[in-house]
């Protein structure tokens, strides 16, 4: 039987992590192909419901990444994002969403190798955790009701 391959959605900011991931490519560093990158203007732009949308559409894990503190292109976007994630993580935990499946990180435009490492460790972790059946069943139960 083939090994389970998790689907990972990465929400990254345009200025640091996206450029960092670009550097990973131009540096010819290989990393897990499980990740689908979605570029945002800033981490401050990432609405918390977008994370839920990813789970809704079958993601097994999520990476949210942006500029290091004090490095934000818009000076404070990542600080706002940090607060949002602090609060949202508590809510997710309280409602029983597996917060192990969401990786938050800061990756700068110069950290190509670090991006590869984050994707690889997240993929490894998710391979062990398996598919996010809990949430997928929740979504499925809704669709079946409709039919």
């Amino acid at each position: 039987m083939s090994e389970f391959e998790p689907k990972i959605v990465a929400f990254v900011c345009n200025w640091c992590t996206y450029a960092g991931a670009d550097l990973t490519g131009t540096s010819r560093i290989k990393y897990a192909a499980n990740v689908k990158i979605i570029r945002f203007p800033c981490t401050g732009r990432i609405d918390f419901m977008l994370l839920m949308k990813a789970f809704q559409n079958g993601a097994d894990g999520i990476i949210v990444s942006g500029c290091h503190p004090n490095d934000c292109h818009y000076s404070s976007g990542n600080f706002h994002a940090k607060r949002r994630w602090m609060v949202f993580r508590e809510l997710l935990d309280y409602m029983g969403v597996d917060i192990e499946r969401i990786t938050f990180s800061w990756v700068s435009a110069a950290e190509g190798a670090r991006w590869a490492e984050i994707v690889n460790t997240t993929t490894d972790k998710l391979r062990k955790l398996g598919p996010y059946t809990n949430y997928q069943n929740l979504v499925k139960s809704g669709i079946e009701e409709e039919l």
């Binding site: 508590e90 309280y94 800061w106």
Partner: protein, 267 residues
């Protein structure tokens, strides 16, 4: 009760306010909100232990606002809500006169809102023992148990949005659930749609909820939705030291930040 009527009459007679928002007897032994504009009608006002609705919800309603200056019968959670509405610039402090009611059910004299602020600083404010117990029990559960608990508890929700309507801080004229470009949450009242709707509601009230518990009381199916927002209130106190509703100049949790916010969960 008599003191509330007397004060209401006084305010209406002297034209200090144009409307008094209070409680009156409704049908089948229930109380309902009363809007008294005529001083001869003040005898309709009542106050007893059945009066739990958070009347501050009417302060932001256009139909009430346009009547003029408002007097409001306010228990402690309502006072906290008034503070929140003022700090979020939904209500002008000069447009509200508070007929405060203390823990003992007696009328408090608030010549202006700063007196109310200092009263709240000293007041003993706690959520009910039942809610506290339920929250403690939830916190002890494993992730799987929590997920099962909430997905089952919210399954019966048919999205009447009574929780939203009863909440004085859910005052957006266009709610995110009504936006369909993008469709933020599934519109259907199924397990998934309900789960995400309540998540969105709790998150939008994070750091703003004053733990009045009115959403839970308004729920026709007795889903304990107030436990979600109360948890958010607890967390914003724990994480940022923001206890909402104690001053007319509250710091908004999600639109502010501090450089030393802890980030040990970020790689």
């Amino acid at each position: 009760m008599e003191s509330i009527r007397k004060k209401a009459k006084e305010l209406l007679d002297s034209k200090q306010v144009q409307v008094i928002i209070g409680y009156e007897n409704g049908t089948s032994n229930k109380v309902r909100a009363a809007f008294i504009t005529d001083p001869t009608q003040v005898d309709r006002l009542i106050y007893d232990e059945r009066c739990t609705q958070n009347l501050a919800v009417y302060l932001v309603k256009h139909e009430v606002k346009h009547l003029g200056k408002m007097g409001i019968v306010a228990t402690i959670p309502v006072m906290r809500t008034i503070n929140m509405l003022i700090s979020e610039e939904q209500v002008k402090p000069e447009n509200v006169v508070v007929l405060g009611i203390g823990e003992d059910g007696k009328l408090l004299d608030f010549p202006d809102l700063t007196v109310m602020e200092s009263f709240l600083q000293k007041a003993k404010i706690e959520i009910t023992a039942k809610d506290k117990e339920a929250m403690e029990k939830l916190k002890k559960m494993t992730t799987q148990e929590k997920f099962d608990y909430w997905s089952n508890a919210l399954e019966t929700c048919f999205k009447c949005y009574a929780c939203r309507s009863s909440c004085p801080l859910c005052y957006c004229t266009r709610c995110a659930v009504e936006c369909n470009q993008p469709q933020w949450i599934p519109v259907q009242a199924n397990k998934n749609g309900n789960y995400e709707w309540h998540m969105l509601r709790a998150m939008h009230l994070a750091g703003r909820c004053v733990s009045c518990g009115d959403c839970g009381r308004a729920c026709p199916l007795d889903i304990p939705v107030h436990l979600l927002t109360m948890h958010m209130a607890e967390e914003s106190k724990r994480l940022f030291g923001v206890d909402s509703g104690f001053s007319m100049k509250m710091e908004s949790v999600l639109s502010n930040y501090k450089l030393d916010d802890k980030d040990n969960f970020i790689q």
